[in-house]
């Protein structure tokens, strides 16, 4: 690893620590990391969307046209229309004409709601309804084990639970009497489901932290040249940078503790 690569890596570690410092409290390092990431990511997306979408989906469609013909002589001239609509969005820069930008907005929302109606009806309603109508496995009702997830009992419970939870969502009927009882069972099922999926997610989230620890460890390995493949460029400067960052972090922590103790004395 070249020393410059190591410096970049150190920069990454510093920003990692700066972001983690948010857990303690809002502080200048977090503020720096936060403002930096907002700017850099916005710039990153400008570049990526330009090269990835605007060039292939618009510029390349119009590239054989000429600007003085307003690109109307290009082979796919109809791509002028979305470009024009896009330009209409820019009327928002003016106070007087900003109402024009409502046209492309209306078009955008019309298209998206129009797509949603049949698609969501099919995927979320029709298909789920069809999936509910199953032949229950009566021969294997308890599957030798009450906790089996494929037994007839489990299938029946999924069906009944889904119906009950659906009843909970009724807006125009008070949760009273038998209806209220079923709705209560429904909310129980919902809560059990939510609890289970909360508990299940913990593992995935802890792995994220493990990955960050792994990155930090890799940095340490690079600093002390402990890797299996010996770095031909290795020198003392790697360790100097390492200790500088460590010293900096430790110094900040001590400073925080001291100022905390002082504020308590007052």
């Amino acid at each position: 690893m070249e020393f410059s690569d190591f410096l970049w890596m150190t920069c990454g570690i510093f920003l990692t620590l700066a972001t983690f410092s948010f857990l303690y409290k809002d502080n200048p390092f977090y503020k720096f990391a936060e403002h930096l990431v907002v700017g850099v990511s916005a710039g990153f997306f400008v570049v990526v969307l330009w090269h990835g979408t605007l060039v292939p989906n618009l510029f390349q469609k119009l590239e054989d046209g000429d600007w003085y013909m307003l690109w109307l002589n290009s082979s796919e001239w109809w791509y002028i229309i979305p470009a024009l609509l896009g330009v209409l969005m820019w009327t928002r820069f003016s106070k007087e004409y900003s109402w024009v930008s409502r046209w492309p907005m209306g078009l955008y929302i019309g298209i998206s709601t129009g797509i949603a109606i049949p698609l969501e009806m099919s995927n979320r309603v029709n298909k789920q309804l069809h999936a509910m109508m199953i032949e229950i496995d009566w021969a294997n009702f308890f599957g030798g084990n009450i906790l089996s997830t494929t037994s007839g009992f489990a299938q029946l419970l999924i069906f009944v639970g889904a119906i009950a939870a659906l009843i909970y969502f009724f807006f125009s009927k008070e949760h009273k009497g038998l209806f209220g009882g079923v709705a209560t069972f429904g909310i129980w099922i919902l809560m059990i489901g939510f609890g289970a999926s909360f508990g299940y997610t913990v593992m995935a989230r802890v792995s994220l932290f493990i990955n960050r620890m792994q990155d930090t460890k890799d940095w340490g390995i690079a600093a002390f040249n402990n890797a299996e493949v010996v770095n031909p460029h290795y020198g003392a400067q790697y360790q100097i940078v390492f200790w500088l960052l460590v010293l900096f972090v430790v110094g900040y922590i001590i400073n925080e503790i001291v100022s905390h103790l002082k504020s308590k004395q007052v």
Binding site: M203, F209, I210, N211, M213
Partner: protein, 299 residues
């Protein structure tokens, strides 16, 4: 104000930064400390281990590294655990990698594992101590890496006829007939079993075209989210064993007494879960005790 707070009230309203600190300390400590935790092994992983462990020296196993770097975190530990176990027992391995982005990663993993085989090691499993001498792993003698070819279903079928059909030479360009271990190895008939490690639908092809057609023992290593949909094949006997996610890999490492990446991860996971549960319990104790106090006070 603070004087009135008893211990239970405090338990109920801890500053969250104590939780963060505690969690960080526990995670870093368990990550850096060198100890192992017992892992409960499940029957579907045990069957894989027992089968592979019963193979005599010189047998051949086909290990299909059919995942790409996206699923590396979950499936790499399995590759390491299984391959090291087999090589320690001097079982020979044929590797394939039927996922487009897989071969370079698989090649790197094979080299890594070869390096770790150079040292002597002692394992203690099934109640017996196993001493293994370190040795050099030789390409063509201990393993053959066939590499990648497109149309995985056809490749799986083709290997049932002859490995040379789709792979006249291996990943490094050596003709298969020039490799010592491939002498007399024609197709699946000479292979003891197939271990497929995959994060996608290549698994389906191994089940229907491979096992379904040529009837070899098939073992699967899958990502955590895939596991539940393959249990039916276990029940029907088409698949002899399943390892699922990091947990499955950790179970194999436990069985082979070869703690590695998966158990390192699980160690941190277990204690992080403990910390969270501990704080939940603390909060609830505080909640119940102070509620009882309040009720008593009210009466």
């Amino acid at each position: 104000m603070t004087e009135h707070k008893n211990i239970f009230d405090r338990m109920m309203s801890l500053d969250r930064r104590w939780i963060f600190l505690f969690l960080i300390v526990v995670c870093v400590a368990t990550y850096t400390a060198d100890f192992t935790i017992p892992i409960n092994t499940e029957a579907e992983v045990e069957s894989i281990f027992n089968f592979l462990d019963s193979l005599p020296e010189g047998d051949i196993v086909l290990v299909a590294i059919d995942y790409d770097p996206n699923n590396l975190a979950e499936l790499h530990p399995m590759t390491y655990a299984v391959v090291e176990h087999l090589w320690r027992k001097k079982v020979k391995i044929i590797f394939t990698s039927l996922s487009q982005l897989g071969p370079a990663m698989a090649d790197q993993a094979i080299r890594d594992i070869s390096d770790s085989l150079k040292v002597d090691k002692t394992y203690n499993y099934n109640g017996v101590e196993h001493n293994f001498k370190g040795r050099e792993i030789v390409n063509g003698v201990d393993y053959t890496f066939l590499g990648f070819k497109p149309y995985y279903a056809l490749i799986i079928l083709g290997m049932g006829q002859d490995f040379r059909l789709n792979f006249p030479s291996d990943y490094y360009g050596t003709p298969l007939d020039d490799l010592p271990m491939m002498q007399g190895v024609i197709n699946y008939d000479q292979v003891a079993c197939v271990v497929d490690l995959s994060g996608g639908n290549i698994t389906d092809a191994w089940i229907s075209y491979g096992q379904g057609r040529f009837n070899f023992p098939l073992m699967l290593g899958l990502t955590g989210v895939m596991v539940s949909q393959y249990y039916p094949f276990l029940g029907s006997g088409q698949v002899s064993g399943i390892m699922g996610g990091l947990l499955g890999a950790a179970q194999y490492e436990e069985l082979a007494d070869n703690p590695g990446r998966a158990k390192d991860g699980m160690r941190v996971q277990l204690f992080a879960h403990y910390v969270i549960i501990l704080f939940i319990v603390l909060g609830n104790i505080g909640f119940f005790m102070s509620r009882r106090k309040r009720m008593e006070g009210g009466n």
